[in-house]
């Protein structure tokens, strides 16, 4: 500390002998690292044609099909059994029932008004917290207003489970006759969705190097894959839910479930890995 004060004092007084103290010595006295050291030669060997080896080629990560090992628990039960599975992000909850709600097909109810005439959906929307409802095979997927925590779902999931059980046990129809009668054939769904992809979705995502491919249609449910710049992009989820879902549902109102089977972790810029 004394040395620093002396140096500063000399600096302002103009005394050169004190200012020229080598910084290594200053550092030693004040236990500080020196900034004035001779460069240390690197011990690393210079690469030559003899010692240079090619790095191993990067392997491509592939996905094997995941086998679902069902215990069969509840499948044969006469009781209506329902399991609730909130999504990790907490914005939706899947209610899995041990009997079909809409076998082979799916239907999306965007709000209370769209549920008119479908007893199951009407009763589910009787809860003020329910925002949207998707029914597919034996599952009901619900989104709710507010709350993004998994634990938040428990009271509502219990209420919805009770509603589903009561409607099923009553034996009344679950969905409106209009929905069931007017379901289009798969070819029509494929053609209409492909048209939206070609004319609206892909021109939009192409600006970011992205591309959407329709991979399968089952009933009125569709599965897509996001490629190019969309694969692994941090905004892929937003693009899917606010861009692709909206475009599909606006242009093809009878489309039901929309699934994304993109392996985002295998993208060129894998935000999701």
């Amino acid at each position: 500390m004394t040395s620093i004060l002396k140096t500063l004092s000399a600096l302002f007084s103009g005394s050169k002998s004190e200012i020229n103290m080598p910084s290594a010595k200053l550092a030693e006295e004040n236990n500080m690292p020196s900034t004035n050291q001779e460069p240390v030669s690197s011990p690393a060997e210079e690469p030559t044609a003899e010692n240079f080896t090619e790095p191993p080629a990067q392997r491509r990560v592939i996905q094997a099909p995941v086998l679902v090992e069902s215990s069969g628990e509840g499948q044969a039960s006469e009781k209506v059994l329902i399991k609730a599975e909130p999504e990790e992000k907490g914005d939706q909850c899947k209610l899995m029932v041990n009997r079909p709600l809409f076998a082979g097909y799916s239907w999306f109810f965007k709000d209370f008004e769209s549920a008119a005439g479908s007893p199951l959906a009407e009763k589910i929307f009787s809860s003020d917290l329910v925002d949207t409802l998707l029914i597919h095979n034996s599952t009901a997927i619900v989104t709710k207003f507010g709350g993004k925590m998994q634990g938040d779902w428990l009271p509502l999931a219990k209420e919805l489970g009770q509603i589903i059980r009561e409607v099923l046990e009553s034996g009344s129809p679950l969905l409106s006759d209009d929905i069931i009668k007017n379901l289009p054939p798969e070819d029509q769904v494929r053609k209409d969705i492909q048209k939206v992809i070609d004319t609206e979705v892909n021109p939009g995502v192409a600006a970011h190097g992205g591309k959407i491919v329709l991979t399968s249609v089952t009933g009125n449910s569709v599965t897509i894959q996001m490629g190019g710049g969309c694969q692994g992009c941090s905004a892929a989820d937003l693009t899917l839910k606010q861009g692709i879902h909206s475009s599909f549902r606006k242009a093809v109102p009878y489309v039901g479930a929309i699934y994304d089977e993109t392996d985002h972790a295998a993208g060129m810029n894998p935000y999701y890995s």
């Binding site: 392997r59 094997a64 609730a84 909130p86 999931a157």
Partner: protein, 114 residues
């Protein structure tokens, strides 16, 4: 993502076996199995385990340096910190010198009977 303490792997080989030691990668680091039994010849079953004690951003089974390895089934048991042990099974896959197969699955989401 939970911390993976240990994983156990069981690989059933199909009609084309692997004539090299089995390697896996954890977060891009290629390693052999510490402890294993069985084999990877055609129709054989290999069982190995490894103590990871780290977060698994990626976990893969590596293909052979040359030739091909046809796998009939892979079963993995995961022992993670603060999570009930769980497992996953994967179906048929063929690996070669350009590929590795993902063997990581996140823990199952919690479910409630309602």
């Amino acid at each position: 993502m939970p911390k993976l303490n240990l994983f156990k792997l069981k690989v059933e080989t199909g009609d084309v076996g692997l004539a090299e030691p089995v390697h896996f990668t954890i977060n891009g680091h290629k390693l052999p199995f510490d402890d294993f039994k069985g084999g990877t010849g055609a129709g054989e079953t290999f069982e190995g385990e490894f103590e990871i004690r780290s977060f698994a951003h990626s976990l893969t089974l590596v293909g052979p340096e040359s030739g091909s390895w046809k796998i009939r089934k892979i079963h993995v048991e995961y022992d993670c910190e603060n999570t009930q042990p769980y497992s996953a099974s994967f179906g048929e896959v063929a690996l070669d010198e350009t590929t590795e197969v993902n063997i990581w699955q996140d823990p199952p989401l919690p479910t409630w009977d309602v």
